[in-house]
Every structure is written in C-alpha cells, then in structure tokens.
Amino acid sequence: MFFNGKKIVVAGASGGIGGAICEQLADEGAIVILLGRHEDKLHAQLGKLKGEGHRCFVCDLSQIETIESCVGDIISECGPIDGLVHSAGNGDVRPLKMSKYPFMLNIMNVNFFSYVEMVRCFSKRGAFNDGMSIVGVSSVAAQYGVQSRTAYSASKGAMDSAMMTMAKELGTKGIRVNNVAPGGTHTSMIDDLEYANLSEESRATAKRQYLGICEPSDIANAVLFLLSDKARKVTGIVLNVDGGKMSC
C-alpha cells in the first residue's frame, strides 16, 4: 500500500471529490485526518473508510482566523503530517452584476485564502514530516472564461498562481506543492447547479469534454499520484483531469 501509516489531512473531506480522496487514501493504508464544517457529515464519511486511526476535525474554512488553531489541534493530537489535500470549495455561480463584494469575499475565503493559510500553517517546522506533499483541488475554470463564474474562476486561478510560488518557496524544505484541476465532475456541486440547465454556454462547454464527465474517483486518482513518492520530482504543476476539455 502506497500510504501505509502516512498521515494525510483532507480539507473538504465530506464533499464529492474530498470523500473519494479519503476513501482511496484509506484503501492505500493512510491515516486520514478529515476536516470540514459539518461534524455529522464528517462522521458519515469517516464511517465509509477502511482501516483504523482516522480522525475528524471540525473547521469552518470561511473563518480564516480559526484555521491556525485548528491546525494546532491536529498537530497536538496526531503529530506531524505527511500530506495535505485542500478539496474544500464553494462553487456558487453568479452573473457579474450580482457578484458584489460580500459574495466575492466569501468565495475567495473558502476557495483561496483558506488554502494558503493551511499551507502556511502545515509547512511550519514541527508540523510536517520529511517529504510532505501538498495537493490543492483547483479547476479548469481558472484556465478559460465561463459566464457567471467571476468569483469561482478567480479563486481557482489564485490557487494555481499561489501554488507555483509556494512550491518554489517550500522546495527548500523538501515539500512538494501541486494542484489538480478537474473539468466537469459528477458531484453534488454539479447536481445542485440548476443554472447549468439554463445556460446554453454550459451545455456547449460540456461537449468539449469529449471523454465524458469525470467521476470523483478520477480526480482522486490524480491527487493520490501527486501525494505519492511516485511523483517525488513533480512540483509546481497544475494537472488537468478534464476529459480533454482544455485540449480543444
């Protein structure tokens, strides 16, 4: 098993993609540390994991000032970690005219500022073991224009840019940092998007993904690769998992 005994934090553990990541990590022997807003959903996800020793920690990533304390709790109770996955995200969409500052700020807090804060806290001395790998789940929405996604696309683009800088800065500590950028993926975030059914553009862009819609397990596969020693010389990249969407 690739992650036997390794401690991996998964933020956004009760989401579609986050849940798949947790399950695959547990299958590969990891000790999964699940992080999310809703305790009941975290425990429901915990119940699906093979193996023992997994832990749940409640943390509202929209409250950036609480993250450092949460990280401190994790290190105190679990010790230094071997991997970090940021899979938490707010996918709300709005036309530009409706994207006022409070809405923009909430999206940026959950999707971007929490990502940087978690990397900052977990990359401090004593918080990580040698060879730690960090993977953020961004989106191909950062790579092309999509109507009604100003906030979402900006937050994911910020993730990708910051990741490259953090990879270089943390390379001296032996820490690798990469992002996985999913294309259309079958999760509740998509199912809840009533809007997708309204937008001619959404239907058109869906056709670009000529290998079809991704499943959460497809994204998890890529995340686990980047977390593993098989990617020991991979850092500072965005790995698209998009069914061909960005190739045409």
Binding site: V93, K97, M98, Q147, S148, E194, Y195, L198, E200
Partner: protein, 72 residues
C-alpha cells in the same frame, strides 16, 4: 415591497429603462430575458426575497406577473 418597486428591481436586473416592463408582458418577448437573466433572477430571489427558485419553476414563468407573484 410594492409592485412598482418589484418591477423596478426587475427592470434594473434586465438593464431596461424605467417604466418599460408591464405585468402582462410575455417574457418571451423580452430580448434581455436570456439564460444569464434567469440566473440573475435565481440569485435575486434568494438574496432579496429569501426564496429558492429552481430551473423548473423558471421554465413555467410566462409573464412578468408570474415572476411578481413568485416574489410574494
């Protein structure tokens, strides 16, 4: 909120001149009532009226009055 205020809100959302919308107007005749406008309508119903509006419900709106009635 008065009906006039609700209509003014819709005119602002659709970027139409004040007084251009009438309750009896058919939505299909309003050029600006496209998919992005429908998305804006969903957001507005949530933000301003605390109501969840689905795509299915939107497809059943035929006139401006249908939207005004949903606002409550």
């Amino acid at each position: 909120m008065t009906q006039e205020e609700k209509i003014a809100m819709l005119e602002d959302m659709l970027e139409k001149d004040g007084g251009s919308l009438k309750p009896e107007m058919e939505l299909g005749s309003i050029e600006e009532y496209d998919s992005m406008a429908k998305l804006s309508l969903i957001v507005m119903m949530d933000d301003e009226f605390g109501k969840k509006l689905t795509g299915e419900q939107i497809s059943e709106f035929k006139t401006v009055r249908d939207i005004l009635d949903f606002m409550g």
